[in-house]
Every structure is written in C-alpha cells, then in structure tokens.
C-alpha cells in the first residue's frame, strides 16, 4: 500500500476531532473527552504504522512526500499544501502523538469536574493538529500556519479558565510575545522568497550553499527570533511563566513537551542555512546559553511548583537551542534531548498536576511537604522524572544532556570552553533546583493548613486515568535516553537529515562525564543542605537580592511593563489626542475659519440701500479702472 497518503490523516484526525467537539454542542459533553482521546490516538497509531514502514526502507528513500493541493497560486509565487515525512518529522510525530495521547488520557481524569471539558478536549485536538502540521509541512509557509496554529491553541488553553483575569492576561501575553517571534518567521519567509523565489524546504535548503552568507545570516537571525518566541528563549521568554495559568495537562503537553520545542525543530530543520551562517549560529548558541542559565536561576527561586518547572523547561530548551546552535555536531543531541525532555518534563508536570489535584489546586510548594506517603505513585514517577532531568547516570537525561555538554566543548576555541562551562554550570543549578522541588514537595514535615473556608486539603492518590500516563512517561524518562544512545541508534536514524559530524573535543567524553557527575553532586548536596536539613518556612523568607530578582523573573517583566506597556499606553493615548486635535483639528479649523469669514462678510449686508449703492459705485469704478489697466498693460 502507498503509505504517504496516510500522512494527511495524521493532521486530519485531530482536526476533525477539534471541529466536531467545538461545533458539536452540549450533546457531546459526555462522550467528548473519550472522542478527543480516541482521535488523538489515531495519529499515534498511524505514526507507528508509518514508522515501521519507514524502518523497512533504506535510509535514503525514507523521506515521504504528499502533495495535497496548490494553496496560493499567484504570479511567481507558489505555496502548496504538501507534507514531508522524514526521520526528523517522524521523531516529532511519534513524540507529539504519543505524549499527546497520554495527556489526553490524563486530562479525562483531571478535567472530570469542569463543565466546559468538551471544549477543552476540542482545543487539545486543535493543538495536536496544528503541531503535527508544523512538523509535517514541506514548506515554511505551511509550517508558519502550524506555527501560529499551536500559538492559537496555546492561547485558548492558557486562557481556558477565562473567568480568572490572570489567565486571560497570561493567554494574551503569550500570544503577543509569540507574535513578535512570528514577525521574525514571516520576515524570514519573505527573505527566502526574494532570495530563492520559493520557500519550500527542498529547493531552499538545496540552494542554500550557493547563497551569500549575508542573506543566510539575515534569514538565520530571523528564524532565531521566531524560535525565541515559540521556545521561550531570552529575550522573549517572559510568557512561559505566566502560561502556567493554564490547566496542568496543558502545561505538560504544550509548555513542556511539544510546542515550546518547535523552535528547536525550526533551527534543526533549517540547519543548512545556519551552517552557511556562522554568525547566526553563534547568536543561537549565545541565546541558548543565556537562557539555560536564566531559566535555571529563575527555577531556583520560585515557590510555585509549576513556575519552578517552567523555569526548568526554559533552561532545558536552552540546552537544546545551544546544541542546535553548535551545528552538525549538536543537531542530533538537541533533538535527542528534546525527546527525552519531552518524556521526563511531561512526567514531572503531570506529577505536579496530580499533587495539585490532591491538594485543592494549591501550587505553593511551601504549603506541601512529606507528600510521599500520601501519593506514592506520584512520588515514584515524579522521582524518576527528577532523576532523569538532573542527569542521574543511566537515565534519559544523563545521556542526552551529557552529549550536549560534550558537544559544547567540542565547538572548540574559547567559545567552546565558555559554552561548555556554562552548560556544566547549568547542570549544577538544575540539580540544585530540582532537588529543591523534590524535597519541598515530598520530604520533610507536612506544612499545609486549612484555608480561609476552613477546609484543609486531604492529599490522596490520583485516579488510574491519571496515574497510568504518569507511569508510562516515567518509563520513557528512564529508558529512552539509554535506548537511543546504545550504538548511537538515534544518531544514525537522523543522519540523513542532520548530517552529523563529530567535532574534535578538547576533553575526552569521560572527563566531561566526570565533571557533570561532580557538579551534579554539588548541586544536589547544596539543595539538601538548604532545604533537607532544616525545615522549610511555609512563608517565603525575604531572601537575597538575587533571589528576589529571580522570583520576579529577573525583573524582565518589570522591564517589559515599564518600557513596553507603559510606554505603549502613553504613545497610544497621545496619538488619540493628536488624531482628535491635530488631524481632525486642521479640517474643523478650516471649516470654522470659512464660517468666521462668512460671518464677517455678512456684516456688509447692513440693510441700508445707500451702502449697497456705494458698493455698486465702487464696483463700477473698479470695473472701469481694471478694464483700462488691462488695456494699459
């Protein structure tokens, strides 16, 4: 059978789900969740089918194409709705649909009591469709559609509890910041059009070599801007923290596992362009490095469990971006870390969700403590995720992150050293804040007390529909890394797309591993000293300057507020004034002056016949003189 015709189904199924659920009306309220989950599972199944089929082929004919129809045919401008399924896309398809399905499943339990859950699942399906479109598109414009599609879905889902102003604001913020990134993407596409006359992957990437470096750099930087927006990289990271306003499954799926990694996909996909533009690459690595520290530091200071995890997400994606910036050395590891991260971060979030589920949606870790005996499954799965992310030897994170650090050193030169050490430092901090989260949540004394209404939370384990996905993800986060790395399976799998090459690392792999182990131990022990030894105060201490700054996302939001929001408000207000007084005023002024003139001339009509006669006489005189003058000149 001809497999590429299945590709469209990958997108179609969840899209159908979204359409049905959103337009379906109340009668679907009961079956809605299950229907949504089913339609989320369909792409996963199809994905598996295609995957096995793909494995059966040789490395070179593994890339499948499906051309649906010509989308925007205009003189000298061809945009098609066409799909491309190669190893890279396939990786994403499996990750997205797989994790997606699990999280749908989880949500059935989590959203049980929400009367608008039908719509929730509709949005989730919409997201899946958009995300799959993003990774399956065979040209940048279609990718852009998916790109904004996931943005929309995330907007809808962050703001799902719209009655909370904070949620609505967060959603708006997320969309706007992403829009800034999208600007970058659209400019990049325009550049491609003017440079290559097309924006389909194959011709563009094919022609990239014989194009001026300047153009490539410009395109690269614009793509980076896009990636920053979507993947919450500095300077466009501010939205991710607030995005935690959304229901936890959303945070797990969209703001941890899949959507936020789209930036990485974009860069890796456009690898050829970046290879031709070292400056752009450098910029990418810098962004990655900065973000991985930034996120980590923020993660250390947050008491809100989800925000802490969000910080960690930022920093982990920082790793991926960094890796992607390293070029052919790093692409593979970027993707690999992306996948493993997909598993353990999703797991962690679901764990957090399950904790909140048991604690009346309390998010402040200082109100937790000693939960391990109340919710064992959650504890175990969360714990495994924890070990995975800090890179405990043998677990997924260990393999993927380690490789990235190596690659960073392998970049060579001072850059290599700087990037490598930053990555190491990041690892240490990661270990620190994740341990902090772990301890504050599951160890120590219980710190929760009745709330205003006097109903104390009584923690309990979550229902099966929630725990099963957590378990599966835990499994993934334990073994995925190892499975990929043995015999460089993953590397060979992606080889045709990313053309891996081994840089010459100044340090041997062993050294790097050793170093990571060391920093890991340091980080963990520091956290243990600070939070494990002595009891955690249930109200946050004032903390050092850095801490306070970090709590406020290193003042980045304040900056935005002062410069952009306030400034913008002033600008618009003054413009409104200008429009009313100046632009309109000129016209009204003219009208008024004509009126005034009229009023004055009118006075001449004073009703006295003799003055009329005077004007006639004068007129006659003027007439005569004028005529004579005409003759004279």
């Amino acid at each position: 059978m001809n497999t590429e015709n299945l590709i469209a189904l990958l997108v179609a199924a969840p899209l159908l789900g979204a359409a049905v659920l959103l337009c379906g009306g109340r009668r679907l309220d009961r079956v809605g969740p299950w229907l949504g989950t089913l339609l989320a599972a369909v792409p996963f199944v199809i994905g598996l089918v295609l995957f096995t089929d793909m494995l059966g082929k040789g490395a070179e004919e593994r890339s499948l194409h499906q051309h649906l129809f010509s989308w925007i045919p205009v003189e000298g401008f061809q945009a098609d709705v066409a799909f491309q399924l190669d190893q890279l896309s396939m990786t994403f398809v499996l990750l997205i649909s797989g994790v997606g399905t699990l999280i749908h499943l989880y949500s059935i339990g989590y959203m049980e009591h929400d009367e608008r859950r039908r719509r929730f699942f509709g949005y989730l399906n919409l997201f899946l469709a958009a995300m799959l479109l993003l990774v399956l598109a065979d040209n940048y414009l279609l990718l852009y559609v998916g790109w904004e599609g996931v943005g929309l879905a995330s907007y809808l889902l962050i703001g799902f509890w719209q009655h909370k102003p904070s949620a609505a604001t967060a959603a708006k913020k997320a969309f706007l910041v992403n829009r800034v990134g999208d600007m970058g993407l659209s400019i990049a596409i325009m550049l491609m059009f003017t440079t290559f006359g097309t924006f389909a992957f194959e011709p563009v990437l094919g022609a990239a070599e014989e194009t001026s470096e300047g153009k490539l750099t410009a395109i690269g930087l614009m793509l980076l801007l896009a990636a920053c927006g979507k993947s919450a990289q500095v300077p466009l990271q501010s939205w991710l923290g607030d995005a935690m306003e959304g229901p936890t499954p959303v945070s797990a799926l969209i703001h941890a596992a899949t959507m936020v990694t789209a930036g990485v996909y974009l860069i890796v996909r456009s690898g050829v362009i970046f290879n031709g533009a070292p400056d752009a690459q450098l910029a990418v690595t810098v962004v990655g490095a900065v973000t991985l520290l930034f996120g980590a530091i923020v993660g250390c200071a947050k008491d809100d469990i989800k925000k802490a995890l969000a910080g960690s997400t930022m920093s982990q994606i920082g790793y991926m971006i960094l890796a992607a910036g390293l070029g052919p050395i790093g692409y593979v590891f970027a993707i690999m870390h992306l996948v493993t991260h997909g598993f353990f971060k999703a797991g962690l979030f679901l764990g957090a969700g399950s904790v909140m589920h048991g604690m009346n949606d309390e998010v402040d870790m200082r109100k937790y403590g000693g939960l391990r005996k109340y919710m064992p499954v959650t504890f175990v799965t969360f714990g495994l995720g924890y070990l995975a992310i800090i890179g405990f030897p043998g677990l997924s994170g260990f393999f993927s992150k380690d490789k990235i650090i190596e690659a960073a050193f392998a970049k060579g030169g001072t850059e290599g050293w700087i990037l490598g050490s930053v990555a190491l430092l990041g690892a240490a901090i990661t270990a620190y804040y994740m341990t902090r989260v772990m301890i504050m949540t599951f160890f120590g004394e219980k710190r929760w007390e009745p709330d205003a209404q006097g109903n104390a939370p009584h923690p309990h384990e979550s229902p099966k529909s929630m725990t099963i996905p957590m378990i599966l993800l835990a499994v993934g986060s334990v073994f995925a890394g190892g499975f990929f790395s043995i015999g460089d399976r993953f590397m060979h799998w992606l080889e045709p797309v990313t053309h891996h090459d081994h840089g010459d690392s100044p340090l041997s792999a062993a050294t790097v591993t050793g170093a990571t182990m060391v920093v890991l131990v340091i980080g963990v022990s520091m956290a243990w000293v600070q939070y494990g030894r002595r009891p955690v105060p249930s109200v946050a201490p004032r903390g050092s300057l850095v801490t306070r700054a970090a709590r406020r996302d290193l003042l980045q939001d304040d900056f935005n507020h002062v410069v952009l929001v306030r400034g913008g408000e002033h600008l618009t207000r003054s413009l409104v004034y200008v429009d009313h007084t100046l632009v309109d005023g000129v016209v009204n002024g003219t009208a008024a002056s004509v009126g005034g003139l009229s009023g004055r001339l009118r006075k001449l009509q004073n009703g006295y016949a003799r003055s009329y006669a005077v004007s006639m006489f004068g007129g006659a005189a003027v007439l005569i003189v004028a005529t004579l003058l005409m003759r004279a000149v």
């Binding site: 989308w71 925007i72 904004e148 929309l152 706007l176 600007m183 596409i189 014989e210 632009v583």
Partner: protein, 523 residues
C-alpha cells in the same frame, strides 16, 4: 446584442430599492422581506456573472456599450475584469447579511406620523447603495464611474445620519447631534474629494477628448496620446485624492471612525466593507491604468502614507474605548495594507491587495456584525461596559473571537493569505517598507486580543449576566461568513485564479516586472 447581464446586476437592486420604498408604512415586515429577496436575487445574478466570466479570456468581458451623453464624450460602457467580478461578488454576497443583521435596526421607536417610514427607507437606501457600488465596479467609462462614485454618497449619508445606533450611551438629543455630525463629516470629506476629482475628470476630457477607459489606455499605450508630465501628475493627484479619501488613507481618515462609530453596525459594515472598496478598486483600475507614469512617480509618498496608516491606525485602535471606533481604526490600518499592496507594483502585492479587499470585507463584516449584536444587547458601545460575556453567551463570544482572529489575519483564515501576499509583494521591492509593515501584525494581535479580553473574559459584569446568546437569525448571518473565512483561508485558489490575469494586465499597464529572486538572478 446579448442580454445585458451587468446592467441587470446593477439595476435589480435599484428596482428593489424603489419597490421597497413603495411599500406602505404599515407593512414593515413586507418591506424587509422584499429587500432581502431582491438582495438574494442580485446575489444570484452576481453568481451568474462569476460563472460567465472566463478568467483567461479578454481583459474586460460581458461588455456593454451604448451612447449616452455625446456632448461630454460620455458613453454608457460596462465591463468587468477579474478584480471587478470578485468585488461585485463580495458586494452581492454581503448585502443580504447586512440586511439580515439590520433586520430590527430601523423599526420606528414609536409610531410617528403615518407617512414617516424609516424601515422602508432604511432597506431601500441599502439596496440603492448596492446598485451604485455594483455599477461603479462595472463602469469602464470614467465619467460613468464618477457619477455613481459621487451619487453613492447621498444614500450613504442618509443611512449614517438617519439610522444611528438605537442603543447609544447618552441622551437621544446628543446622540442625534453626534450622528448628524458624523454624517455631515462623511459627506463633506467625500464630496470635497469627489469635487477635486471632478476637476481632474474635466481635465482628463480636455486632454483625452473622451472618457472611455480602454480607448484612453490604448492611446496612452501606443503613444498616440501623450500627456505632459505635469498634466499627468496633476490629473493623477486629482483622482488619487478622491480615492484616498474614500479608502481612508492617513491623514484623510478621520471621517471613518465617526461614521462607523455613529452608524448602526450593518451600515458600518456597508461603509467599510463595501463602499470604501470602491476607492481602492478605483486606484487599481483608474490611477494605475490612466496615469502609469504619475503613479510610479507618486509611489514613494503613497507607500509612506500607507505605512503610517497601518501603524497609526493600529495604535489608535489600541487606544479606543469604543468597540466600533476600534474596528474603524483597525480598518484604516487594513486599508493601509491594501494601498501598500497596490502601489508595491508587484504581482504578489496587487493580487494580495485584491484578495485583501475581499477578505477584509468578510472579516470586518464578521467582527462588526457580531459586535453589533453584542451592542444591541447591552445598549452601549463602550468596551468598559462589558466583561465575562464569554461565560453567559459562549457562541457569541466564539464567533466574535473568530472574527477577531480573522482581523489579526491568523493563518488558516482568509485574511492571512492576502496580508502575506501583500507583505511579500512589498518586501520584494521595498524590503524596509515590508519589515515595518510586519509590525502591523503584532499591533493587530494587540488590539484584537485586548478587545476580546476586556469584553469577553474575566468575571461576569452584572449588566451582561442576563445576556442571551446568538439567535437563529444572527447565527444565520455569522456562520456563513465564518465558513467563508475558513474556506478562502484554506483554499483561496479559485479567487487567485480569478484575479491573476487582471493583475498581469495592470502590471503591464505600469510596465513593471517582478524583481527576480537572487539565486535565479545569479544564474
């Protein structure tokens, strides 16, 4: 000679207008149904035109030509190219929705003297406008076009001034005062524009000796008619000024917010989605075709003005407190895009601009009509008076959101296609301009989402707590529009194929070639 299809298409609504106006005062409902019937019949004819039109055929098709006023060198010449067909279709399509949406807008509050028949008048005027708009899309004789371009103002003027928002904050006296101010402003702005154009029209006659678009264009092409550079520029400016007022270009835009703010939502849609399109259409058809050199000469300035419109309009939209004024300023921003696309002088830009005219019509209609439904429920145009509507009227909120997303041209919805084409087209020739214009994307998101957030989300305001969701009639208005927005967003091919040949012609009129991509240029 064959059946005069174009004349029929334009005449039918005119007949409808007369018939509707003639309905006796008491039979209000009859008038409404009559009007709706005629608008639908017109739609049918428009579809016939669409079918009969062959995109790859001659430039102007279904042409008609009769003697009219020989002394003025005026002939009754009709003909449509792809652009005209598209816009006629848009007009014929929107009018039924406008009528349906305005179903109750003109019901007299209390029965005045039996001879006063606002309802009949309202719908008759709408049909009259439709007739005039359609014929100005068809006219290939400059004078004929001018006549209806001007005459259109009168019914519009009565629609704006005579039928303001029933539900308006403040006293009735104040309301009617503001309303007639808006109406007069609308009329005077456009009248001045039109009169200046009249001077240019006369000038054109003095130079060319007749008004036939094709003849003049041919004469210009084969050099048998060459204008002195300055003459051509002056004439161009005369024409362009009128069109720039109509399709509000900064700084001639200030009439639009007043007009759209004071008029009822359907009329506001009529203004911005239908009538203003005549302005941009005319730029494409008359300015470029009659005065190619002058158009090129003026391009830099026009591009700058268009850019200002885009950014300025968007920023002001952000600053508005009144829902309808917000949409108005958004439209100003969008018209900036259209004009940008027209004067980018690239195939993508001009195709994009044409698509933009259609898509903007649809998206604004969707957003504005839903806004109208919202306003009619609460009785206020102020954003601050709303909040949490989404909870009590989810369908209304949902449609409103879709309309908003269309306005910020979200990919997958029709406006994205056109906006991106415009941007690419501009970028290809003037990269800097293109980049600045993309800022518009962000600002659009800002004002749309702020509007949605303030009105629809957050805790439910007590005043809106009892608000009913969309009724069947209202859903019947919005649903098809949304369907179209999605349909044309996913599959715009039919539209582009309709427009492309026409754009080719305009490109050859101005003797411009699309810039070559670097790579091919290198080869």
């Amino acid at each position: 000679m064959s059946f005069p299809l174009l004349t029929a298409t334009a005449a039918l609504p005119a007949v409808g207008a007369i018939a509707t106006a003639a309905v006796p005062a008491a039979r209000r409902a009859a008038a409404k149904w009559l009007a709706l019937f005629f608008s639908l019949a017109t739609l049918v004819l428009a579809v016939v035109v669409l079918v009969r039109f062959d995109p790859d055929g001659d430039r102007y098709q279904l042409t008609e030509s009769r003697a009219w006023i020989a002394d003025f060198g005026v002939r009754y010449e009709l003909g449509v190219d792809g652009i005209g067909v598209a816009l006629i279709a848009l007009t014929a399509l929107l009018i039924p929705f406008i009528i349906l949406a305005g179903w109750h807008d003109a019901d007299p509050l209390e029965t005045k003297s039996s001879r006063w028949r606002p309802t009949q008048g309202f719908f008759a005027l709408i049909l009259a406008v439709e007739a005039m708009v359609i014929i100005s899309f068809e006219a290939t004789d400059v004078f004929l076009f001018y006549i209806f371009f001007e005459a259109m103002l009168i019914p519009m003027y009565f629609l704006i001034g005579g039928f303001g928002d029933r539900a308006h904050a403040g006293s009735d006296e104040k309301a009617s005062a503001q309303r007639s101010y808006a109406a007069v402003k609308f009329l005077l702005y456009n009248l001045v524009g039109g009169l200046i154009m009249l001077a240019a029209v006369i000038g054109l006659y003095v130079v060319a000796g007749n008004f036939s678009l094709q003849e003049i264009a041919e004469a210009r092409a084969n050099g048998s008619l060459d204008m002195a550079t300055n003459t051509e520029r002056l004439l161009f400016l005369g024409f362009f000024f009128a069109f720039a007022v109509k399709a509000p270009l900064w700084p001639l835009h200030t009439w639009l917010p007043n007009a759209m703010g004071e008029a009822t939502a359907p009329v506001a849609v009529l203004i911005t989605a239908v009538v203003d399109k005549v302005g941009t259409f005319a730029m494409l058809r008359f300015c470029l075709q009659l005065f190619p050199e002058a158009s090129k000469w003026a391009t830099p300035v026009i591009l700058v003005l268009a850019l200002i419109s885009i950014i300025y309009g968007a920023l002001l939209a952000v600053g508005q407190r009144d829902i309808k004024r917000l949409v108005a300023y958004a439209s100003i921003s969008h018209f900036g895009f259209i004009i940008l696309g027209i004067f980018a002088m690239t195939s993508q830009g001009q195709s994009g601009a044409t698509l933009y005219m259609v898509n903007h019509g649809l998206s604004t209609a969707a957003l504005m009509l839903v806004a109208g439904f919202l306003i009619s429920r609460r009785g206020s145009r102020l954003i601050a008076d709303y909040g949490g509507v989404q909870k009590v009227a989810p369908v209304l909120a949902g449609t409103f959101l879709v309309g908003g997303l269309a306005t910020l041209s979200l990919p997958g919805l029709a406006p994205f296609v056109s906006e991106f084409l415009v941007l690419v087209g501009v970028f290809a020739r003037y990269p800097a301009v293109g980049i600045i214009a993309t800022l518009g994307i962000v600002l659009a998101a800002l004002y749309t989402l702020v509007l949605y957030q303030r009105t629809m989300t957050g805790p439910v305001k007590p005043e809106v707590s009892a608000m009913p969701d969309l009724r069947v009639r209202e859903l019947a208005v919005v649903a098809p529009l949304i369907a179209l927005l999605i349909g044309l967003g996913v599959y715009p091919k039919p539209l582009t194929e309709l427009v492309n040949p026409a754009v080719k012609h305009t490109m050859s009129d101005v003797q411009k070639k699309d810039p070559q991509p670097e790579v091919e240029a290198a080869k």
